[in-house]
């Protein structure tokens, strides 16, 4: 059964076509890598699923229903930028999430924050960008949802912290839920992936099971991507 479906979705900004007739299904219980070079349309594809953008043509459904309050309740989205109100403390931010998301697990968030030695009364403004991104990841993963969408969770994170991020993702998403991770840093996340989607110039150029793809080509996803990307050029 699929969670999220894109039906003939195109997105244009003026004369530029960013996504071109995308048909895609995100299945349940899988970790899916949305892979592609910068400007391939990964973020646009994700923003469409989170109603931040509206499709120029086509439509998107979540569990066969149009996107709306129900889909927003069941999708936890980590954008590529920091969206928190920096004037608030961590505690106030937790209050905010608890207030607006009934599926937010505060105890889990506090436990994860404790692991990072973050004090609840710390103002977000006084945290480094890396720490703010970690806090945001904790907030997203502390929700019990059916789909986690992580847009470039490793972008701007130093290599030492990448392991923490990947480990947090692997050990904290809800069992039975799906995770859609967008990145161009394929080598770092390759080991997590069940499925891969290669996106280039607004088109899906490959979608397959990660293990099947590795067995078929006898090489890593990273290598396959480099090859596909080179050929597509």
């Amino acid at each position: 059964m699929s969670l999220l479906q894109y039906h003939h979705v195109s997105k244009r900004f003026g004369n530029t076509t960013v996504l071109d007739n995308i048909n895609l299904e995100i299945p349940t219980g899988k970790i899916i890598g949305l892979l592609g070079p910068n400007g391939a349309g990964k973020s646009t594809l994700i923003k469409l699923a989170n109603t931040l953008l509206t499709p120029t043509t086509g439509n998107i459904t979540f569990q066969n229903q149009p996107l709306g309050v129900a889909s927003k309740t069941e999708i936890a989205y980590l954008p590529e930028r920091t969206y928190l109100d920096k004037t608030r403390t961590i505690r106030q931010t937790l209050d905010f999430f608890q207030n607006f998301y009934h599926n937010f697990d505060r105890a889990k968030a506090e436990r994860l924050l404790d692991d990072l030695d973050l004090q609840l009364d710390t103002q977000i403004l006084h945290m480094s960008k890396g720490m703010q991104e970690k806090l945001q990841l904790i907030l997203v993963l502390s929700r019990h949802v059916k789909l986690y969408i992580l847009d470039e969770p490793l972008g701007g994170i130093d290599p030492a912290a990448r392991d923490y991020i990947l480990d947090t993702i692997l050990t904290n998403f809800d069992e039975g839920a799906s995770v859609l991770i967008s990145t161009h840093l394929i080598a770092d996340i390759e080991k997590l992936l069940d499925e891969v989607i290669f996106l280039q110039n607004g088109k899906i150029i490959l979608q397959d099971d990660a293990d099947h793809l590795r067995a078929q080509t006898q090489t890593s996803i990273d290598e396959i991507f480099r090859k596909e990307f080179k050929n597509a050029r």
Binding site: F13, G14, K47, N50, T51, L52, L53, T54, G68, V69, A70, K72, T73, I75, Y77, P79, R81, T82, Y83, L84, D85, T87, F96, N99, F100, Y101
Partner: protein, 266 residues
């Protein structure tokens, strides 16, 4: 959800407005008490003797009159700027990634910003109105007779008209921000430009409405012909202005909502 959003918006918006409101009331009160002292010292009615007021009190009195005027203007400007800046930050900056992904319909988010703006404007105008009481020396004995002319109805209509006018200005800003962000470049410049254009058009249409209304209603022409038009005439005029602003708001609210519903966050 609307109440929760409203509470969060007000929490973020209200602090500087309350500080300014407090300063406005304080300066008005100091003005009032120094005015009382000045009058007492300069003219003793029992002895018909003119006594010169202390230069210090005269200075403080004049200073706080000007400070009160400045505080009133600053309070109004800060209220509007805070309303627009919260709207822009909440719906068009990085924070919008959180706002738009909350499990709330967009029209609720829009309604929460309009209600936040309305509450802030009511706080602002009520502060100015209450402070204005200090300009009436009898305000302790007759507190609800606003202003020098002691026309409660006229002043009450003016109060609501000012709230509607400020709400219209706030709405022009919202529409400007929404239209400005439909441009891919120089969004801030276009936001201000669109806001100014909508406001100017609205005011021009209001003037035209007043002109036509006075043409059709000869009794209203004294507004242009007499230096001190009658209270009835002023009441009719201000009521007309309030109705026009109310109509503007009724038109602009769904227009902004529709534009916001289809807005893309780039």
């Amino acid at each position: 959800m609307l109440v929760k959003l409203l509470a969060y918006n007000l929490q973020r918006l209200i602090k500087p407005i309350l500080i300014c409101a407090g300063l406005t009331v304080l300066t008005a009160l100091i003005f009032y008490f120094t005015q009382y002292d000045t009058e007492f010292i300069t003219h003793d009615t029992r002895t018909e003797e003119i006594i010169h007021a202390s230069p210090f009190i005269v200075f403080v009195h004049g200073l706080f009159y000007n400070l009160y005027a400045i505080c009133g203007v600053v309070l109004t400007v800060i209220t509007l700027i805070r309303i627009w800046s919260l709207f822009q930050k909440n719906l068009y900056s990085d924070e919008a990634y959180l706002t738009y992904t909350l499990p709330i319909k967009r029209h609720i988010i829009w309604a929460s910003h309009c209600l936040t703006a309305l509450i802030a404007i009511i706080i602002c105008m009520t502060t100015i109105l209450l402070s204005n009481l200090c300009f009436n020396q009898d305000f302790i004995s007759a507190p609800f007779q606003f202003g020098a002319d002691h026309e409660p109805l006229l002043n009450t209509i003016s109060y609501f008209c000012l709230i509607l006018q400020l709400s219209f200005i706030a709405m022009c800003g919202f529409l400007g921000i929404i239209l400005g962000h439909r441009h891919t470049k120089q969004t801030e410049l276009f936001s201000r430009l669109w806001g100014f254009i909508v406001f100017t058009l609205g005011e021009a249409l209001l003037l035209l409405t007043i002109f036509l209304f006075t043409k059709l209603n000869p009794a209203m022409q004294e507004i242009f012909q007499q230096a001190r038009p009658s209270i009835e005439c002023l009441q009719s005029l201000i009521t007309l202005v309030a109705i026009v602003y109310a109509i503007y708001l009724l038109i602009l609210y769904p227009v902004c909502q529709k534009l916001l519903d289809s807005a893309d966050l780039n």
